[in-house]
Amino acid sequence: GESVGLHLPTLSVQEGDNSIINCAYSNSASDYFIWYKQESGKGPQFIIDIRSNMDKRQGQRVTVLLNKTVKHLSLQIAATQPGDSAVYFCAENRPGGYQKVTFGTGTKLQVIP
């Protein structure tokens, strides 16, 4: 069936470097994508979102890129900090009726001081 998946389960990055977390989706009808950050023992928190009519969106130190041609989504974190260590989930929203979001399996980001 349709699914959202992540390329890498764990990513280790040196503090101060940029991080790139990738996500592939397979439902071409998805029109809304969200990145969440989940710290250990806590619920996920919204980071940034992007709609399918855009290919780039920037926030504070984070940028999301959407490539609809290859169904690929990425989250870029600039100047990665120890507080960025967490599991990051991408999620796709399928249109039609009730809102249902499909979450990927997650990528664990480890920041090396």
Partner: protein, 111 residues
């Protein structure tokens, strides 16, 4: 501002015992409500969602059930817990096709 509460934070229950987890939302009305389960080191599995009082949709067959007795109250229940029900249970709310806001979660251990 909106807040979402879940309780209890942690729970240890024997196999075969009943379960009741509660989730309440403040500061908003007519939210969509969700229950997710997350196994250790894994992603989120949607269990139930609700778009209104008494309206529950189940995503996966299981021995859990959900109820929404009030607009901002969502309850997850089981009559008899299984070992496989252990996990981190998350409640979330949203308004339509927007981001979801998650509660702090309940860690359930079935022994």
């Amino acid at each position: 501002s909106q807040t979402i509460h879940q309780w209890p934070a942690t729970l240890v229950q024997p196999v075969g015992s009943p379960l009741s987890l509660e989730c309440t939302v403040e500061g908003t009305s007519n939210p969509n409500l969700y229950w997710y389960r997350q196994a250790a080191g894994r992603g989120l599995q949607l269990l139930f969602y609700s778009v209104g009082i008494g309206q529950i949709s189940s995503e996966v067959p299981q021995n859990l059930s959900a109820s929404r007795p009030q607009d901002r109250q969502f309850i997850l229940s089981s009559k008899k817990l299984l070992l496989s029900d252990s996990g981190f249970y998350l409640c979330a709310w949203s308004h339509g096709a927007g981001e979801q806001y998650f509660g702090p979660g309940t860690r359930l251990t079935v022994t």
